[in-house]
Symmetry: none
Subunit: 187 residues, 4 copies
């Protein structure tokens, strides 16, 4: 009836979407589980609402994943602006390590995703690969690393960061792992 205001119903829907994603992220980063019932309870919506927004648990995990991975991708340009290519790479591995540590549950959920790990990685892993690719290209331009590096291999080499646990001296370990890797990468 009114024209000025955004319809409350519409607002509810959007807010629900947000709340569900937030609840799912929290659940994934803490327990690593994605019980629709629990998420509904946390987000304070009905279970049916969760199902309306995300047909399957996988779809929900995927949505959370995409969103989170995007953070790592988005930070690359600014890193390259503010640092030398080499520094940018090193700082980014720090981001990656921190991300891995915080989102442990998420990482696990991704690995154990029962269905369509294909689609999952097709999009997410590709995003990561392109982020690394950009960093490598900048370094190749600067002459600091070899030109024949496969971003995927570098990504795999960084995979060990997944093992880091908050209790250990992860900062130092990350640096040392990056050092080791860098020695193997440089010209």
């Amino acid at each position: 009836m009114t024209t000025g205001a955004v319809s409350p119903r519409r607002a509810d829907t959007r807010r629900n979407h947000e709340r569900i994603l937030a609840a799912a992220l929290e659940s994934l980063t803490t327990t690593g589980e994605v019980s629709f019932n629990t998420i509904a309870r946390t987000a304070e919506v009905g279970v049916g609402t969760v199902y309306r927004h995300f047909p399957t648990p996988d779809a929900l995990v995927l949505a959370v994943y995409r969103r989170e991975v995007q953070h790592l991708v988005d930070v690359v340009p600014s890193l390259l602006e503010e640092h030398t290519p080499e520094q940018a790479f090193r700082v980014w591995t720090g981001h990656l390590a921190r991300y891995m540590m915080t989102k442990r549950g998420l990482a696990n959920a991704l690995r154990t995703a029962p269905t369509s790990p294909k689609e999952l990685f097709a999009s997410a892993s590709e995003a990561m690969r392109s982020a690394i690719s950009t960093l490598l290209e900048a370094n190749v331009q600067a002459g600091s690393v070899r030109a024949d590096l496969d971003p995927l291999i570098v990504l795999r080499a960084l995979g060990g960061l997944l093992y880091l646990s908050p209790s250990e001296d992860w900062q130092s370990q990350t640096e040392r792992l990056t050092d080791l890797l860098w020695r193997g990468m440089r010209t």
Copy 2:
């Protein structure tokens, strides 16, 4: 009750222990699940028996894990006898990759083990560390790698092998990852 004689009972018990471990390993490497009921069924013992042998699911996973990791540790000496130190290291990473690929379910279970990741790594990760340590020492002796490498860092760098999936060209990827790493390790 008695300690001197090996009672027939004792034999049964030992056999049960074996069967449970075998069933758990199979379950972990295939489905990645460790349902006590399922394992009991596979091992052809009662659930109660499984509980008697392993108080918690974690204890069972840990036991399986220890056993499996031992294989990777045990192979080191013979590798060093039959190959140059560098070759030994490279061949061992191949073993590691194959192991990771075969025991995917196990690896996942380990990562998602809800409790006591401490104890889990205290023993298992330590075993792996010592295996790498041995390989590194041989290479240091031969002058092929730097003397200041931390085995743990190298182990982390190899962690990316966990991502490999059977469908991909994992052999080539393993070699390339090892190459990259080796460049960073050598003198």
Copy 3:
């Protein structure tokens, strides 16, 4: 609000009514279920609209039922024009059997209708009874059946046709059942 003019709204409403009935019929004859949500989806209207047109699932089933049964009632006059009374009866039982077989889901839904089986039969069963009544009267006039037959009893005797399944030799079974019944009915 107004009664004199046929509003465009009215047209929409009538069309919706039709679509809902059509969707319900299809659902009943195929799956035998009457999920309002599913029906709404099939009819391409909102659930609320279905509720507006039919207050309860029963009301909807009843409406579909009435409509379908009418087919069996409407065919009687023409049968009596084109056949002898006895043949008309026999042909009609064939119609009945085919109808039962096609609308199996409908028949089941009717039987399991949780509430108001009263109202359900008050109208639908009455229509069937009158159809049979007409057929019997013609036969009484022709002197081929006894005059003291209760149409309801005859209807019940034909109820066995409900059991027929498409896979069996239902045509022959219908004829034999009709034969048996006819022997009991004739003068």
Copy 4:
């Protein structure tokens, strides 16, 4: 430990089986539903126990069904001992009508049984057919009915008894239906 008494555990199990069947029968004859949760609640056992005894809802319905149908089959011999063949048949249809009326929910559940209607009828319908067959044979021997009657057709003709509802004058209707049928059956 004791030898004289049947082990209590064994007794519990058997008692549970009974209670579940009883609860299922009640549920089927009243609401026509077979919710495992509800049945467990009624029988005062855990849901898991119901699952242990009956793997699927169908298996439970089937078990109840077999049991109930058996009653109708078992009564035949005594009827033939105490009555003339014709009377036996008429009394049996009375039993059938009463059974149908009481077990309405059961009958419905049977018709709508989603899976394996095959197996269901292979056993149950066959039992019914043989019951009627016995009654017919006795009558053929006594010369009261024709020898070429197909028990299955007679069973179908009696199917109309399913329609009877307790509120109506079902006794009289049953008799009249049987009369009509008998006229068609006799020599």
